[in-house]
Subunit: 205 residues, 2 copies
Amino acid sequence: MAKENVPDVVIQRLPLYLRSLVHIAERGQKIVSSTELGAWVGVSSAQIRKDLSYFGEFGKQGLGYDVEFLIGQLRRILKSDQTWHMLIVGAGALGHAIANYRAFENWGFYLVAVFDNDPQKIGSPIGHLIIQPMEELAETIRKRHIEIGILAIPPQSAQAVADQLVAYGIRSLLNYAPINLVLPPGIHVAHIDPVVSLQSMAYYL
Amino acid sequence: MAKENVPDVVIQRLPLYLRSLVHIAERGQKIVSSTELGAWVGVSSAQIRKDLSYFGEFGKQGLGYDVEFLIGQLRRILKSDQTWHMLIVGAGALGHAIANYRAFENWGFYLVAVFDNDPQKIGSPIGHLIIQPMEELAETIRKRHIEIGILAIPPQSAQAVADQLVAYGIRSLLNYAPINLVLPPGIHVAHIDPVVSLQSMAYYL
């Protein structure tokens, strides 16, 4: 598995293949062609074959892919067969929605702590957790072996909080604040910005 | 402006360029090189020049781009200089978070209605709106000229509600439910799925 040379865009498509394969499996289908999988994801069959070829041979020419086998391989490549610990900073409406989102754990992502700087919120329940003060950030990250930070805070404070998280050892950030974060090399950030999605669609309207 | 032949991936990158340009402008910077803009977005300078070349000449070789001019051009291309009406189906924690998200209106996206099928919620305030029953969907879409539907509902009901929205004239869907929607040609769907983002990052952990 030649990990180093896989383009980021390929890595970003693999979860879409995985999600579609799970739906195909739920319908009871055992084998899928690259053409059919491509139709689900919205890419060409050639793109799927090329993307998967970075990681090995997952099907035989003309026979299609074994759905369950490919799900297992993609789970392994994307490390969704492992357990990851996450925290949220920000216990507003968005933080609550994320904390109550049940699909994370199916894929190995466990929310283990939620932080806020509002004394009114600290100590209150959120999902199955209790909102903690920001002062406990460093110790909680260390003790609970947290690798992933989710930012559900206003854009004004996002960069400062991101810097704190990185200083305390977080290497992956899921950023819901509508702002670009500037971070050291080796730190991965994914943005969730509905405006970006809306703009891409408005182009076609 | 040769709209028809622009690849979807280019359209998906334009909002990222626009977001970075706005941050660059907020710092007081008037001119930006493709190299610097690329560093903000995480793509090469060649990619930026190629993407923008689909829409015309926006800068002179070696002089960089005029930040405000390029912001205006991208707003126009992405139709964020127009006004779009949106609705949300689903008034749970996520629906509330979306309804209170203030960044939409800066880009021409106005939330004008929120729907739910829970009699306990119907009639309650959400953001600056009142939660409406699903029975009013068709009439509200027509009367308020709504073009964009946001799905903030469980995956089990997402396909059925999407079909309803499309039948009532909605052409763009922003889908927060973790499920692939199967829709007629000409309907554009964007997915917001934090698991997909987390999986792309876990690959690098």
